[in-house]
């Protein structure tokens, strides 16, 4: 079999490791782990990358990576990453958080890092609910979406409106790059991979903070089959959370 016939990327570096599965059937977090692995390999930075992982299911996407990492307290990954990057400037420091971790309990830490223009790459997984704790209302929950703490659907109990984190990050002067992607189709996977790669490049070149929001599924808490959940992202989430780059500057 010639390599030319293989269209998908082969992971050659010892970048992934074997860990027990802690994710639900149909969850995309290992797909996201695969995407990270491809990016770190192609940029050849995996051996200098330090991952700072928030509290939540999204940690499974980096658990498969053979990189040094630390699990932060809920919402505090930007603080933990700030100190590591300031003290070890040659490292590539990346945070991965869920929507609740990043923009609910960790909103202060997140805004603090944006304000100080930390040279970090920050990834936020948006699955429109709290997956780990069983599907409660998140800042990103869609209007009308039923969760275990919005049983009448969001909007019936004074629970506000969905937070648009990628657009928010783009407002900050110290942010070099902000984008939102999804991994529900092969085309979106490739586009999101490009976003995340660009985000890491911004850190490698020392431009400024880079942020990528990734729409991801949660079949059990959405009460949908894996395939239906991908369709739900396309039909419900993307209209609320448009994909694309909101900021991309070469210099601040």
């Amino acid at each position: 079999m010639s390599d030319k016939s293989v269209t998908k990327v082969r992971l050659t570096a010892p970048i992934v490791r074997s860990v027990p599965s802690q994710i639900c059937p149909g969850c995309q977090y290992w797909t996201l782990g695969r995407l990270f692995a491809e990016v770190l390999q192609e940029l050849n930075i995996y051996s200098k990358t330090i991952g700072v992982i928030g509290a939540g299911c999204h940690g499974n996407s980096t658990a498969v990576l053979n990189i040094d990492s630390i699990l932060a307290a809920h919402g505090r990954a930007p603080d933990v990453a700030t100190a590591i990057k300031r003290l070890r400037q040659d490292a590539i420091v990346c945070t991965i958080q869920g929507d609740g971790d990043c923009i609910a309990i960790g909103a202060g830490a997140f805004i603090g890092a944006l304000t100080r223009a930390e040279r970090l790459t920050m990834i936020m997984c948006n699955n429109a609910n709290y997956g780990t704790t069983g599907g409660q209302l998140a800042p990103t929950t869609l209007m009308g979406q039923v969760t275990s703490t919005s049983p009448g659907g969001r909007g019936t109990n004074h629970d506000g409106f969905p937070t648009h984190t990628a657009e928010l990050a783009a407002i900050f002067k110290g942010v070099a790059y902000s984008a939102r992607g999804a991994i529900n189709t092969p085309a979106n996977y490739q586009r999101t991979k490009k976003y995340i790669k660009t985000a890491f490049r911004k850190q490698m070149e020392g431009v400024g903070l880079s942020f990528v929001e990734v729409l991801s599924n949660c079949p059990p808490n959405w009460h949908l089959s894996p395939l239906e959940s991908l369709k739900w992202i396309e039909e419900k989430m993307i209209p609320e959370f448009p994909l694309g780059e909101f900021k991309n500057v070469e210099r601040i």
């Binding site: 053979n66 990189i67 699990l71 003290l87």
Partner: protein, 363 residues
């Protein structure tokens, strides 16, 4: 190099950290410790060291979690309300076994309380104020020299036990100006931080390192079960409690009454003892230097020998609980607390004359 300087207690924190080879300070302004972040902002960047003003004390303590995990010597400072915010992070740092130093310049509580000196965070500092029951060494300086020295000792003990260490100062210790001898103190060799996260290319063992404030998912530390992790912690805390008790005895030999005080009330107590001795009253002082581990043994021995105790502390009574636990009801323990200040406002003090009055009443 030895050099004498004349500085505030708060600034001595900075000189102590510098002499300890501290790599980074992370902090948030709060009275009465603002001179500490201001010192680091002025002195650290020009020496190639890191200063970050965090967005909150929650931020500061989690920055310490990150900096310590990366193998660096890191420090923060705060006071009452900020200390409250740090409790979550303190617990995670203790659980992840990361060495770092927190300087707590006590002010009056509870709540917003007062921005002036007090000793009302003793219990939360010595009991593991955050979730889940951890322990940390607490050092109590009573002079600018000791602030400087104890910050260095704190870094050593933190690295020795892979545990956070608190230097418990107060508004008076922070703002008092005294002459002190500036020097780097040698404490002896320390284990290498083989567990730190540095990026794989910087790891001597070539392994991937993962740190977490829980057992099970940390191959660089690796405990087989939850209970084996707790058992390891228990052993470590017992080792600290056995090896690290420090205290000062002052005129205690022939005393009938022993005062117990730390921080500024220990200075006040010494003055009161001098006055009492000149009047022929046999009184002395036990000054705990480590508040945890507490000098229980010496106090119990003295209780067995029939000594009585008077605790002088600027609160409604916190360290007095530890003294009462040490004496186990074998002798009397009196308390001269915050109500003994010479005026009822928040900037006043327990003065030596008032302590002497209490000594006379008890003897």
């Amino acid at each position: 190099m030895t050099e004498r300087m004349f500085v505030q207690g708060n600034e001595a924190v900075g000189w102590g950290a510098l002499n300890a080879g501290c790599d980074g300070f992370f902090g948030y302004p709060i009275t009465p410790q603002n001179e500490i972040p201001e010192w680091f902002a002025r002195e650290f960047p020009k020496r190639g060291r890191v200063f970050v003003q965090s967005q909150s004390e929650t931020g500061s303590i989690n920055m310490l979690y990150g900096g310590a995990a990366a193998g660096f010597r890191v420090i923060t400072s705060t006071s009452g309300p900020g200390w409250g915010l740090m409790q979550e992070g303190m617990s995670h740092i203790a659980a992840a076994e990361l060495p770092c130093v927190v300087v707590l310049v006590q002010r009056g509580g509870p709540g917003a309380g007062s921005v002036r000196h007090a000793q009302m965070d003793y219990l939360s500092a010595t009991r593991g104020g955050g979730q889940g029951g951890y322990k940390n060494i607490v050092l109590a300086p009573s002079s600018v020299q000791e602030v400087h020295d104890f910050v260095q000792l704190a870094f050593y003990l933190a690295d020795k036990y892979c545990n956070p260490v608190v230097v418990l100062s107060d508004g008076i210790m922070g703002l008092i100006m005294e002459s002190f001898e500036m020097k780097t103190i040698e404490f002896g060799p320390l284990p290498e931080k083989t567990w730190a996260i540095r990026g794989r290319e910087n790891q001597k063992d070539g392994m991937t390192h993962l740190l977490h404030s829980a057992p099970g998912v940390a191959p660089s530390r690796g405990y087989m079960t939850y209970l084996s992790w707790l058992e390891h912690m228990d052993q470590k805390y017992k080792q600290m409690a056995d090896a690290e008790v420090r205290y000062e005895m002052y005129q205690a030999e022939d005393a009938k009454l022993l005062l117990v005080a730390y921080g500024y009330p220990s200075r006040v107590s010494k003055e009161a003892i001098k006055m009492a001795r000149s009047q022929g009253l046999k009184v002395g002082l036990i000054r705990p230097i480590t508040l945890w581990p507490f000098p229980t043994q010496i106090i119990r021995e003295k209780a067995d020998q029939g000594y009585r105790f008077l605790v002088v502390e600027d609160s409604l009574g916190q360290i007095v609980d530890d003294v009462r636990m040490a004496v186990q009801g074998r002798t009397d323990v009196a308390l001269l607390g915050v109500q003994a200040r010479h005026l009822p406002t928040d900037g006043e003090m327990i003065l030596p004359g008032r302590v002497l009055q209490e000594i006379r009443r008890l003897l």
